[in-house]
């Protein structure tokens, strides 16, 4: 609530560098503030609902601040909420998501950075063809590849396990990350590469000693891109894992949309907020880099 009110009162009133209250400016700030309310409303509603008790929710309105702040819904969402027969809350999904996230992010970035490096500095016959296939593959709806991957995972015995999902995330993260790294390495001056070659450095030496230290910012962008993407994934989680290994998003959906029992909206919103917390923290902490990451994702055309 505090956010909204301070914005509303301060926005247009602050000292202006040039013009004072022109009609156009009032209109401009008015529009921006109204639109901001639409964007902030859900976050605000999530927070206040998760801090209310059920009786208050039943009588009051969703927009009102809590009269009595209680953290019980948060505790319940984390440790007691039920999905089917399991009643150990979202903590299990959180644990699964972390165990999926860390290896997926590491593996996809390592593989993609090597790909990008090979594609920009060590071109071989057909390398561009494979890259083109990879980029086109990013546009193919996942639905067309879901079942063949089920078969592949069954063949190697990883269906339903966290390892299988890690593999899937690595594969589907590859197009965009490879593009990201390829474009970055291509911008590295070629003289540097040639000089290292003359000095007798090989494929891995140049990669580890020259390319990686220079590419640190792009690694950060890739990490942001992958962490939010993998954490937010629902489709692969629901298909390639089983209830014991469900990631947080899938478990959240099962908790909130379960048909049995009385609906506890405050617990639901606490659970929703908990699931959204990781990407939100990354978003607010990374600032400009996040924008750079999505811009990199956007220019894949």
């Amino acid at each position: 609530m505090a956010d909204i009110t301070t914005n509303t009162t301060q926005g247009p009133r602050g000292p202006k560098p040039k013009k004072t209250f022109s009609r156009a400016n009032i209109f401009l700030y008015g529009t921006l503030i109204v639109v901001s309310m639409y964007y902030l409303l859900p976050l605000y509603v999530m927070i206040v609902t998760s801090l209310k008790g059920m009786p208050e929710i039943r009588m009051g309105n969703v927009f009102g601040p809590p009269m009595e702040v209680t953290f019980e819904p948060w505790v319940k969402a984390w440790a007691e909420a039920c999905t089917g027969i399991n009643c150990d809350g979202l903590s299990r999904g959180f644990g699964n998501s972390v165990r999926i996230l860390v290896p997926s992010v590491l593996m996809s970035i390592v593989i993609a950075s090597i790909n990008g490096y090979a594609l920009s500095n060590w071109k071989f016959k057909g390398s561009e063809t494979f890259f083109t296939i990879l980029i086109i593959g990013a546009f193919i709806p996942y639905q067309t590849m879901l079942y063949p991957i089920v078969i592949m995972l069954r063949e190697i015995g990883l269906m339903g396990s966290i390892g299988g999902l890690v593999l899937v995330h690595t594969v589907f993260g590859m197009p965009i990350l490879t593009l990201l790294f390829r474009n970055y390495f291509a911008s590295v001056p070629e003289e540097l590469f040639k000089a290292a070659r003359v000095d007798g450095a090989g494929f891995w030496q140049i990669y580890f000693q020259i390319m990686i230290p220079m590419a640190l910012p792009i690694f950060v962008v890739a990490i942001i891109l992958q962490v939010t993407g993998i954490w937010n994934d629902f489709l692969f989680g629901v298909i390639y894992t089983k209830p014991a290994t469900y990631p947080m998003t899938v478990q959240l959906n099962n908790i909130v949309n379960s048909v049995q029992g009385v609906k506890e909206y405050n617990v639901n919103m606490a659970a929703t907020l908990l699931t959204g917390l990781v990407p939100l923290v990354i978003y607010f902490a990374s600032g400009k880099l996040f924008v750079r990451g999505i811009a990199a994702g956007a220019v894949k055309g």
């Binding site: 494979f130 991957i149 909206y265 990407p279 990354i282």
Partner: protein, 305 residues
Amino acid sequence: MTVASDSPHRRTKRPNRLFKNWMAKVASLPMIMTALFVFVGGTAWTVTYSFTGSRMLPKTKWVGFDQYERLWETDRWIISIKNLAVYGGCSLVLTLVLGFSLAACLDRKIRFESAFRTIFLYPFALSFVVTGLVWQWILNPDFGLQSVVRGWGWESFTFNPLNDPETVIFGLLIAGLWQGTGLIMCIMLAGLRGIDEDIWKATRVDGIGTVKTYVVVIIPMMRPVFITALVLIASGIIKLYDLVVAQTGGGPGLSSEVPAKYVIEYMFRAQNLGQGFAASTMMLCSVVIILIPWAYLEFGGRKRG
């Protein structure tokens, strides 16, 4: 052959060209395998098996176009396609209009620009599941927006899209726009920043109004940005799945079903693989239909220019 002559690193001539750059080839194996087995192989496999009568397990009992005929006779699929068309059309237009307008507002040298940008973009960091669940709660008829407005004294106010088959798609649209416009705004803003300041000076000298300048001068100049945005929005629309599952579950009844959901229901719940394959092949076709004109515009145009 071309490798040896193109490569800038040729110093020694090796006898076997397959082993030239062999380390790069080994290092690229994951990419090569992904491209060949998952992307090409997987897609070809699904398209092939869409011509079989597979049910619980994939099998090669060829049935020609039967699955497709049945698909287009299934009400659920027709509803899904219609829903996607309505959602897609509205989402495309509104995202572009909203995204561009917001970007234009932020580009007017305003104060607190980065605060506004942060606010407009944060929903993009959240998953569709979170988005769907929050809006499900806000649009809840008994406790949400509708009851609040009624509580203010407007007793007959009715806004209950999630339980009304006629308007449920617009309930999804509100949530989808909330999540996705920030991204398009960011792209548009980057495009606007790339426009020369002199253009503005010139239009001011000519006495053209601000709004007219945007419509007549700026938007035509931003054609490539709009095309990128269009492709992004369109590929997102076809993938629409998580949001529906979380927010409405396809209901009430079948009124908010979408093709991506149809595919997954038939493949993994109804154990009718052939139908799932046929439906996913149709999704692939729709992507191809969108991408070919785009590729033509992008790469055909580049050759001319």
